[in-house]
């Protein structure tokens, strides 16, 4: 009895240590720090201004934007040696009408030099089937479909004289996770190894992305608003998602 207790006491720290090591296998756990990401919203190089400014799509059609919001989730950072860190519970709703939402802070990131950043444009498959959520995923944010439950990944609403919908409306609600109309897309960008994302305890770098709202309407298929002005999931949402996969985000620079 006594021997086994001693043995247990002896084993415990070993178990603790080894389990500790395992969970942080990818990158050594300590120390940790933070960095910020800024999402700067543009339309083909011009500043995005809701409701007022008229822009042109790739077909030369005029349009205005009233609502522009989207999810960024499952942020993953990689180092040059291939090791990666997945930011846990990383779900962010970026909304042009809420300026604070365009700056996000990622905390508790293991320090190091990261040369690649990836994230999901939208919300991963599992969370579209999960129970009631809170925070960025709270249905009060207006990004949850109640009749075909799941998240709207990217929402752009506006107007165009070319739109045949009532009040010339543009309604682009992109979402859906089931084939053949799965719209989950991943964005990935390499970071120049000469100026990697340097997460340090004494420095909090800023990553600056340019986000081009007009990318929904070009890239793979040029969209005319006379033909497509309304989508809430389904095949037309796939066309839009395939457009913005490459063009929605562009890494502009990093302040280390």
């Amino acid at each position: 009895m006594k021997t086994s207790q001693y043995l247990l006491a002896l084993l415990c720290p070993i178990i603790l240590l080894s389990s500790c090591k395992k969970s942080d296998d990818e990158i050594t756990a300590n120390p940790k720090s933070s960095f910020t990401i800024e999402f700067e919203h543009q339309v083909n190089g011009a500043v995005l201004a809701l409701n007022t400014t008229t822009y042109k799509n790739a077909k030369g059609e005029d349009f205005k934007i009233n609502v522009f919001k989207y999810y960024v989730s499952n942020i993953r950072l990689s180092k040059a040696d291939g090791t990666a860190y997945l930011v846990p519970e990383s779900y962010y709703l970026i909304d042009e009408s809420k300026s604070e939402s365009k700056f996000i802070t990622i905390n508790k990131v293991p320090t190091g030099d990261y040369t690649k950043i990836e994230y999901t444009i939208g919300v991963d498959y599992a969370l579209n089937f999960a129970g009631a959520q809170t925070g960025a995923l709270d249905p009060i944010n207006g990004m949850f479909w109640t009749w075909n439950s799941g998240y709207i990944f990217v929402k752009l609403e506006g107007t165009s004289p070319q739109s045949t919908a009532a009040n010339n409306a543009l309604t682009f609600h992109i979402g859906g996770v089931i084939d053949p109309n799965n719209t989950i897309r991943t964005f990935s960008t390499e970071i120049n190894a000469a100026n990697p994302l340097r997460v340090r305890t004494d420095a909090k770098p800023d990553v600056h992305f340019i986000v081009n709202a007009a990318s929904l309407f070009t890239g793979k298929t040029d969209i005319s608003f006379s033909a497509l002005n309304f989508t809430m999931g389904g095949a037309n949402s796939v066309i839009v998602a395939d457009n913005y996969t490459k063009g929605l985000f562009r890494l502009d620079h990093i302040h280390n």
Binding site: F129, G131, A132, T134, P139, I140, F144, T146, W147, P180
Partner: protein, 328 residues
């Protein structure tokens, strides 16, 4: 502070501890409360919300308006649900029980989690016609709700997540597994099918059970049973966007079927006789008609009576009359 009406004062704590019971003859449930700890206070709050018409735009319709316990939480005598502003919905309100085993909700399976199901009814213009944000605001200013949220979740902050999780504590606990059929299957003392019921059960296994699979009496698939040559309701294809799903609907459970009429997604049949006659002689050559129904389900008069006798063994009076579930 003392102005609230008597029935608002408090919810009497449930005398018995609320628990989620899995009948011995049931499979493992899909929903298991792992992320939603079941408590008496959570259940009581969920039940109060379920029966509260303040969850609708004009305070006229509660969940319980269209989901009545005596109808196994379906809607007695209503072909389709009857929502705010006298609006008639397009589908029949389904019964609510054994939802913890269900993988998707509503006739088209559009909602994938029991917790998010109420949002569909809350926001539908023809059901409750409101939104969750308005409900949160209303509940914050309505005693005794902040206290009830505190009892259930440890803080009086009211969020959509707490509202939905508490309602799920009520709806997922609604388990119907004490019908005569269940007691016969579990070989409980003194329970045996009559000869007519047994003949009906054998016919049922032969002619119906491939879709209405035991023990939940559904295989959870989506099928067209040939109600119309061209369905007026797109059904499942509104969710999937797939043509072969046009006019298909979730195979409903047959438990408590004696009390859940009218039947079918649009409530077109008021009696089980009409339903059985549909399968016998009324199946139409719909585009996506289920292959098993190509020739209907031929049933003569005595066979129909036998099947009906069996179907009535699926009535669970203990569930229908359980006072834990009624509006208190």
């Amino acid at each position: 502070m003392y102005a609230c009406s008597k029935n608002e004062k408090a919810i009497a704590p449930e005398a018995t501890t609320i628990s989620f019971e899995i009948p011995a003859n049931f499979p493992v449930p899909t929903y298991n409360f792992d992320d939603n700890k079941l408590t008496n206070a959570g259940f009581a709050l969920g039940k109060k919300l379920f029966y509260d018409a303040r969850l609708s735009a004009d305070n006229s319709v509660s969940c319980g308006s269209c989901h009545q316990q005596f109808a196994a939480f379906a809607n007695l005598d209503h072909k389709v649900s009857h929502g705010v502003n006298n609006c008639q919905g397009k589908r029949n309100a389904p019964p609510l029980f054994n939802l913890a085993w269900q993988k998707a909700f509503f006739w088209d399976g559009g909602v994938k989690n029991i917790e998010t199901s109420p949002l569909n009814a809350i926001t539908d213009a023809c059901e409750m016609g409101t939104d969750i944000e308005r409900i949160i605001t209303s509940l914050k200013g309505t005693a005794p709700y902040p206290d009830l949220f505190k009892q259930a979740f440890g803080s009086d902050e009211i969020t959509s997540q707490k509202i939905l999780k508490s309602i799920a504590q009520f709806t997922a606990v609604l388990v119907s597994g004490n019908s005569k059929y269940d007691k016969v299957m579990r070989k409980e003392n003194g329970f045996n099918f009559s000869s007519v019921e047994l003949a009906g059960y054998n016919l049922f296994k032969e002619k119906c059970a491939s879709c209405h699979a035991e023990p939940l009496f559904t295989d959870f698939s989506y099928r067209s049973n040939g109600l119309d040559v061209v369905s007026a309701d797109e059904g499942r294809s509104t969710i999937t966007g797939v043509n072969t799903d046009f006019g298909t609907f979730r195979v409903p459970t047959l438990r408590n079927i004696e009390y859940t009429g009218p039947y079918m997604h649009d409530g077109r049949f008021y009696s089980l006789d009409e339903v059985l006659e549909h399968y016998n002689s009324g199946v139409k050559a719909a585009g996506n008609l289920d292959s098993r129904l190509k020739n209907g389900v031929p049933l003569n008069a005595s066979e129909k009576e036998q099947i009906k006798a069996f179907l009535k063994t699926l009535t669970d009076n203990e569930f229908l009359k359980n006072t834990l579930y009624n509006e208190s």
